[in-house]
């Protein structure tokens, strides 16, 4: 079925956008007619990634890091400034019709369904576009509408549906033609927790059953934890981390995440907090700390003795917190990458010796 070794591969992929700065007001407008200061920004900057068939990848990164630009290049909507992409053996920007039949893109922020007609009419149009046989189409609609519990919604005008209902139908629309690779750009954005969970469960079971490749972007770590085997982190357009979700959790070192509650406000200037990355609540009676595994007993005891602790709990670094830390301090990723490289180099030297 697959004529290419990888589902997807990019090499030194770069997209730069040029824009000019306009100063406010009439004066600025007039000035911009005469002289424009252009700035060029690399939205995606020398990005390398390789994805195997059947993988479920979480593409993470802060707003403006280049996630959507990357998705647009991978699906052939926009043309890269430089570098190479290969998706299912095709170059996306050539937009070969066979390539277009094999991919799907769902954008949580944008509807692909026709607003003024029932979803079923849009589906029928898509059936023709993707040349799905009547029998296949019927089975597919039956199966997917069952899984997503949307049977009653198929004949209602799309504009009358809730966001959650619409999202399910959007997903359904993009899966009718059994794509080999699916790009999901924030499919759960704006949904309530129950709806998010349902979409997540659906995606997990769909992926398991159909063995397609999926690239997911999301700001909800629950999505990523539930679905993705592997995480790719994009910061300033660069691939800043690429590894399993387990490695991601340890990217900041093997530290435990400990939360203490106190019966009253405590001194948050005390020296003990200094190296523990404290995060205080506004009332000053609760703190989240990161403590190295080797120091856990000692430090915890010290805190228990010195402060009026009412409750405490310990946990591994949850992915949400790793993400938050990384987003506020991207230098840590670089550091961890450097460490990793160093370790690998040392390992190599050892092997040689």
């Amino acid at each position: 079925m697959h004529n290419s070794k990888y589902a997807l591969r990019t090499h030194q992929l770069t997209k730069s956008f040029r824009s000019f700065k306009k100063k406010p007001g009439i004066k600025g407008t007039l000035q911009s007619f005469v002289k424009r200061d252009y700035t060029t920004k690399n939205a995606v900057d020398g990005f390398d990634v390789t994805i195997k068939h059947g993988e479920f990848i979480g593409l993470l990164g802060p707003n403006g890091a280049g996630k959507t630009t990357l998705m647009k290049m991978l699906t052939g909507i926009i043309v890269p400034s430089s570098g190479d992409i290969e998706v299912l053996g095709y170059t996306p920007s050539e937009r070969h019709k066979i390539f277009r039949k094999k991919i799907a893109l769902v954008m949580g922020q944008k509807s692909q369904l026709w607003w003024d007609i029932p979803a079923m009419d849009s589906f029928k149009l898509l059936q023709k576009y993707y040349e799905v046989t009547d029998q296949n189409f019927k089975n597919r609609v039956e199966e997917l509408s069952e899984l997503l519990a949307v049977k009653d919604l198929l004949h209602i005008h799309v504009r009358k549906l809730s966001l959650g209902e619409r999202m399910k139908l959007e997903l359904m629309a993009c899966l009718l033609h059994e794509p080999e690779i699916i790009f999901l750009d924030e499919p759960t954005i704006g949904l309530d927790l129950v709806a998010q969970k349902r979409i997540r469960e659906f995606l997990a079971s769909y992926h398991k059953k159909n063995n397609c490749s999926v690239i997911l972007t999301s700001h909800y770590m629950a999505d990523v934890e539930a679905l993705c085997e592997r995480i790719v982190l994009i910061i300033d357009g660069k691939n800043s981390f690429d590894g399993s979700i387990h490695e991601f959790q340890n990217v900041l070192g093997r530290k435990k995440f400990v939360q203490f509650r106190f019966s009253e406000k405590v001194d948050n200037k005390a020296s003990i907090w200094k190296d523990l990355d404290p995060e205080w609540n506004p009332a000053g009676n609760m703190v989240n700390l990161r403590i190295d595994e080797s120091q856990l007993r000692e430090k915890s005891q010290e805190i228990l003795q010195s402060f009026p602790v009412s409750d405490f709990q310990t946990d591994k670094m949850p992915i949400e917190r790793v993400m938050n830390t990384l987003l506020t301090r991207p230098d840590l990723v670089a550091k961890s990458a450097a460490q990793k490289a160093q370790q690998q180099a040392q390992q190599k030297n050892k092997d040689k010796a």
Binding site: K72, I77, I78, K110, D116, I117
Partner: protein, 266 residues
């Protein structure tokens, strides 16, 4: 077969979409045409009456009014596509979906145009019947219809490709509505939508012989009125060639422009 089905289904959807908001649609299409018509109707009546003229350049008042009525009808059949704004699709990132579907953006718009044209045929026939019923127009013979309708279709097609061409310029410019308005104004003037072209001097008429404008209103109107004496095949040829030229131009613009597309807003 597969390709044909894609077209048919798209035409169907476009038709359903067009008629989803009937009131809105009627206001958009019929409103400007009717307003324009009534302004001209009253204007010409006033010109003839206040100056006590029997004839202007060979047109009596009733002939002039009849000319304006046919301008309205031809406008409805052939020119309403000028209100379609393809630039919006590019500016707000709507073309992205058609970059992903295995059915192209131009195919989608051409199919929408066909649906639109069919819809316009229905509307203009209803208008025509209404006008005949109140007696300000006499229905022409079938022979005349068979000459005028294909020409109207070609003119509609030309309007569509010109609007598509201008729309594609928005890959480079943020806003193209000024270009549309300029084109519409120029073409209305030279097409005879304001004044019958007999009123212009002969050298001007000769000068615009191979431009498309004259064939966009004046010629179809005269054919409908049964008073066209020029060459019909020249009309077909000129309009077709211009449509082909703009279609080729559009293909070129698309090839270059789509590389600049940034899919803003998604």
């Amino acid at each position: 077969m597969g390709e044909l089905n894609k077209w048919l289904e798209t035409i169907k959807i476009a038709w359903v979409n067009l008629t989803a908001y009937k009131i809105n649609y009627i206001i958009m299409v019929l409103g400007p045409s009717l307003t324009f018509f009534f302004v001209k109707y009253n204007l010409w009546t006033a010109i003839y009456k206040t100056n006590s003229l029997d004839m202007i350049q060979g047109y009596t008042l009733s002939q002039m009014l009849s000319y304006q009525v046919w301008t309205l009808v031809v406008g409805l059949i052939a020119q309403s596509y000028n209100s379609m704004n393809i630039a919006v699709d590019i500016r707000y990132g709507k073309i992205s979906t058609y970059l992903i579907y295995p059915f192209d953006f131009w195919q989608y718009h051409t199919a929408s145009f066909i649906a639109f044209f069919m819809n316009q045929i229905v509307i203009s026939f209803l208008t025509l019947l209404a006008l005949a019923f109140i007696g300000i127009i006499t229905l022409p013979s079938l022979a005349i219809f068979s000459q005028a309708l294909p020409l109207c279709f070609l003119v509609a097609l030309l309007w569509f490709v010109v609007m598509y061409f201008i729309g594609l310029i928005s890959f480079w410019l943020d806003e193209t509505w000024t270009l549309r308005v300029v084109f519409i104004m120029i073409s209305q003037f030279f097409s005879g939508a304001f004044l019958p072209l007999e009123i212009f001097p002969q050298w001007l008429m000769d000068g615009i012989k191979y431009l498309p404008f004259k064939y966009m209103t004046y010629v179809p109107v005269k054919v409908f009125m049964g008073t066209y004496t020029g060459s019909l095949s020249l009309a077909y040829i000129v309009v077709s060639l211009w449509a082909i030229a703009f279609a080729l131009g559009s293909a070129l613009l698309w090839r270059k422009g789509v590389k600049l597309y940034t899919a803003a807003g998604i």
